[in-house]
């Protein structure tokens, strides 16, 4: 009951406030009359009686106000009235309000958009059950680098660890799949048996891999994603008849995984590993590994556990060398996925934070200017009894209104901005799909707006209500309010703004210069006019199928050469700029030293003078011609290099210099059979130019190229140098492949697409931080202009007096500019110091410039100072136009 009564009273107070007021008024008046009557009865004359009654009552309005304060909802009502009043204030200065709302919307919107990327990529838990318990496991080699796991090492980790409930290894790639609705290149992973256990899922249909599925020689089985089951297979309930032809072999579909599950990356198919048996080498790093921690085991404990096993392997293995693991590492899967994306994103977040500060500084300055105009109003309210707390609340309310409106608009903008960011983001940014304006992002935007409101409100309120407000009554009459104090604080804000802007623009400048330096790097190959075509034939190990692969590619390339406009055709195992070629150790060897089997190499690997390390690429001679890779000495492959003639290799210049310094490598023979299983020696016949195939900002890697027609391979990328239209080349080439083998789905791109994608993340950072820098620069310039213009308008009378006393316009100009310059220089000085301290955080993103690049610092300082001077100059000129007669009479 009491609750009901209270609610009724609250609603009555809020919605029937007029009736409540009338009732209260009647009650107090009736009380007064009763009192008067009492006094009359006591024998007072009527007038005296009324006076005494009023004294006892103590003021009708005061009593009513006291009752109002006690009423339920009085607080809410006063907030509403503050809001109404605040909105009226904001409407009174529509120009300033619009600028403030827009500024806040821009900054909060930008911060929200960037945060949504940061949240989606770095913070949002991965979409797996208890995802924070899933760990990635890597080997650590003798140089401290992380590498994938070799089969026997993984087996030891799996069998000897006490930290993981389940641990699984996997590989990932693109497979040619037919047998579904149409042939396609589909993301596929090969995984070991505990894969589903690690992720805590069960097939929604069918079964998991059994232990016999993963044995050598087992009938091939495959698990498929829910999406693939629906879209490609038409969601059959019965999987008995479901088969897929994957890279040439027929697989039985045994299970469908839950909707939405994809790992690694966007895999749709999961095949068992080791159908062909395990690789016995401890230095063949072929697998990723993930595991789910046992309950109660910490990441730290798991690390010690795995590390101990790894060191044991290191101490006992016969395969000593740089490629043997020395240690192991365990880290949360999420960190391992987002590893390289983390620091650029945090830099972006920091940059947008700076932008927000600059924007808030502008709004604070505008609010301060308004507050000083309102000095009179505050004085009156204070004189009428408003407590300081009440006035402070009024300022907070106004700041809150501004921020909420600005923040609301900002969030709307962020929806649009996030779509733009996702489109602009580099393809290799992990977890990009999970970037959206989600609930946590909205909460962030709300908290940010509230924080901004609290900061701005508290700041303005503290400035505006400090000291004796009632003085405003005296000073206010003269139109000279906006005391020295508030102008000084305005200048401090502007200096801070300049400083922050400088840091931001220096950061943008450094990143921009890095991008330019990267673009100046000669990649070592041509980019234009090249169409690429990825083709994956069925995988095969036996010599006969391998020979067929070579024949297939040979005839495919012969026919591609016939396409009108196509000048040259080549093939390479992995395109440059796409993560590079696999690397390994090779041996310098002569013909009669070659052992019969892989096992024989282990002792040879101990002889350091024989060892060399290089990337391993499979190519055709056409590849070097299409990409314009320079032949430095010797020759490239030719038609005499058949499968049965001596196998030859072409090496890159850096390998020649590294491994054969001061010698001629041509004619030397090497053993690199650990890369493709072919133990025949390779005779070096030529040296080609270095290429930056790991990206322009990475040094070229020593590389051995072998001939596709001697060392066939199932998956190749064909490259066509063509003057014709890409579209027509693509469709003709597609037709040719279809004609040769309709079950193989190709993928076409232009090489320049591949090339620009490799620059994507750099461009992304430069564009965004550059954008933030420009906006901050505009805001800071506007801030300087605002403060100077305000100061000049406040000093009109003073300037008038100076002019009347004989100051020339040059003197006035110097005075005003001088004041502005002091502010600017202080800001710039602090900004330079701040930049020197902060640019270190972007050091890892820089290329070819140091974090303290003097040219960037000088250029940015010059830019900022000129913009700010321009902003000072306009008000300063206005000051010189002051007519002393008008200025003085104006008083």
């Amino acid at each position: 009951m009491p609750f009901f009564v209270k609610t009724r009273s609250l609603l009555r107070n809020l919605f029937l406030s007029r009736r409540v007021e009338v009732d209260l008024d009647h009650e107090v008046h009736s009380h007064l009359e009763l009192l008067t009557e009492e006094n009359v009865r006591a024998g007072m004359p009527p007038e005296e009686a009324q006076r005494a009654a009023r004294i006892e009552l103590g003021g009708i309005e005061q009593v009513k106000e006291q009752v109002r304060e006690e009423q339920l909802g009085s607080w809410l009502r006063s907030v509403i009235s503050d809001c109404r009043y605040g909105l009226r204030q904001l409407r009174k200065n529509p120009g300033a309000t619009a600028i403030m709302v827009f500024t806040l919307a821009l900054a909060i919107g930008a911060a929200t958009a960037i945060f949504s990327v940061v949240y989606g990529v770095l913070l949002r838990p991965l979409p797996y059950t208890d995802a924070n318990r899933i760990m990635a496991v890597f080997e650590v080699n003798s140089k401290g680098g992380w590498s994938h796991l070799a089969d026997p090492n993984f087996d030891d980790f799996r069998d000897q660890n006490r930290s993981f409930r389940a641990i699984t290894k996997y590989q990932y790639g693109v497979a040619s799949v037919s047998g579904a609705s149409q042939p396609s290149r589909t993301a596929a992973a090969s995984v070991s048996s505990d894969f589903l256990k690690v992720f805590g899922i069960q097939p929604i249909l069918g079964r998991d891999f059994s232990s016999s599925d993963a044995k050598k020689g087992a009938g091939p089985t495959v698990l498929i994603s829910y999406g693939y089951w629906k879209a490609q297979l038409g969601s059959p309930r019965d999987l008995a008849q479901a088969h897929l032809k994957i890279d040439g072999a027929v697989y039985s579909v045994i299970g469908v995984l839950p909707a939405g599950f994809h790992f690694p990356s966007d895999a749709n198919l999961w095949l068992p590993t080791d159908l062909g048996g395990e690789n016995p080498s401890r230095t063949a790093h072929n697998y990723y590994a993930v595991g789910r921690l046992r309950d109660g085991v910490t990441v730290e404990q798991a690390n010690q556990d795995i590390s101990a096993i790894a060191r044991r392997i290191h101490n006992t293995s016969s395969e000593q060398g740089d490629y043997l693991l020395k240690d192991g590492i365990v880290l949360p899967l999420q960190d391992s996925i987002t590893g390289t994306a983390r620091s650029p994103l945090l830099v972006l977040l920091g940059a947008v934070g700076f932008l927000l500060l600059v924007a808030c500084a502008n709004v604070a300055n505008l609010l301060l200017a308004q507050a000083s105009v309102r000095g009179r109003e505050l004085a009156v309210r204070s004189a009428l009894g408003a407590a300081r707390a009440r006035l402070v609340r009024q300022f907070l309310t106004e700041a809150f209104l501004l921020s909420i409106i600005g923040g609301g608009l900002g969030v709307l903008g962020a929806y649009w901005g996030v779509a733009g960011l996702v489109a602009l983001a580099p393809e290799n940014l992990p977890l990009l799909d999970s970037v959206s304006v989600s609930i946590p992002v909205l909460v962030f935007a709300f908290l940010l707006s509230t924080g901004v409101a609290a900061g701005l409100g508290a700041f303005t309120a503290a400035r505006a209500t400090s000291g004796d407000l009632r003085e405003g009554l005296g000073e206010g009459g003269r139109g000279q309010a906006g005391s020295q104090g508030s102008q000084r604080i305005g200048r401090v804000i502007v200096a801070a703004q300049m400083a922050i802007t400088l840091v931001l623009v220096v950061g943008a400048g450094l990143l921009g210069r890095s991008l330019m330096k990267v673009l100046e790097v000669n990649p070592g190959f041509r980019v234009d006019k090249i169409v690429t075509m990825d083709v994956a034939l069925p995988d095969a190990d036996d010599p006969k199928s391998k020979a067929h692969q070579a024949i297939f590619f040979s005839s495919l390339m012969d026919r591609l050469k016939q396409i009108p406009g196509v000048r040259k055709v080549g093939a390479i195992s992995n395109l440059p700029m796409e993560g590079g070629l696999p690397d390994g150790m090779f041996l310098l060897m002569t013909q009669n030293e070659v052992p019969k089997a892989m096992d024989g190499f282990v002792p040879l690997m101990q002889q350091k003078e024989r060892l060399g390390s290089a990337d391993f690429g499979v190519a055709t001679d056409g590849y070097f011609k299409v990409l314009g890779i320079q032949l430095i000495r010797g020759r490239i492959f030719d038609e005499h290099d058949g499968p049965n003639s001596p196998h030859v290799a072409v090496i890159s210049q850096s390998l020649a210099q590294d491994r054969w310094p001061g010698q001629d490598p041509i004619g030397h023979t090497i053993e690199f059979g650990n890369m493709d299983g072919d133990l025949r020696l390779l005779t070096i016949v030529g040296i080609v130019g270095d290429i930056h195939d790991y990206g322009l900002d990475a040094p070229p890697r020593p590389t051995v190229y072998v001939n596709l027609f001697q060392r066939p391979r199932s998956a190749m990328t064909l490259t066509m140098l063509s003057d014709a239209d890409t579209q027509s080349v693509t469709s003709t080439a597609r037709g040719i492949l279809q004609d040769l083998n309709p079950e193989i789905p190709p993928r076409f791109r232009t090489f320049s697409q591949v090339y620009s994608a490799s620059l994507g993340s750099r461009k992304f950072n430069v564009i965004l931080i550059g954008f933030f820098g420009i906006v901050a620069l505009l805001l800071a310039t506007a801030g300087v202009f605002g403060v100077m213009a305000y100061s000049v308008s406040r000093r009109t009378r003073e300037i008038g007096v100076r002019v009347a006393l004989g100051a020339g316009s040059a003197d006035v100009l110097r005075m005003v500019l001088g004041q502005g310059l002091r502010t600017i220089f202080i800001g710039v000085a602090i900004g330079i110091a701040g930049s020197l301290a902060l640019t270190r955080t972007v050091e890892s993103l820089l290329f070819g410039v140091t974090a303290t690049d003097p040219l960037t610092f000088a250029a940015v300082t010059l830019l900022l100072v000129s913009a700010a001077l321009l902003a000072c100059f306009i008000p300063a000129r206005r000051a010189t136009k002051v007519d002393p007669m008008i200025a003085l009479r104006y008083e």
């Binding site: 209270k6 209260l24 009736s30 009763l34 009492e38 009552l57 103590g58 009752v67 006690e70 009423q71």
Partner: protein, 110 residues
Amino acid sequence: MNSEPTTLLQGTLDLLILKSLVAGEMHGLGISRRIQQITGGTFAVKPGSLFPALHRMEEEGWISSFWGDSENNRRAKYYRLTKPGRKQLEAETRRWGRISWAIGQALEAS
């Protein structure tokens, strides 16, 4: 804004108002005079304290109000005790009893 220091302990005014209404419905002035009377003139409740308390207590549901005519035929707002009000009076009385006993003990202790 209430510059007059209240002479009543927090919560005591509610108790006195509730107590005075036990005798029957009364308007504000009546309650004020009644309190004066039953406390032997110790407490004089000013309208500035009385009315806020009355309105608050009505919102709490302890008393209810209605407009009626005074003995001299003037319109006046009358208050009367409700059922929750009676319960509240009992509770407050018990509480006050404990407090006064405790304070008494404390003052007597040497």
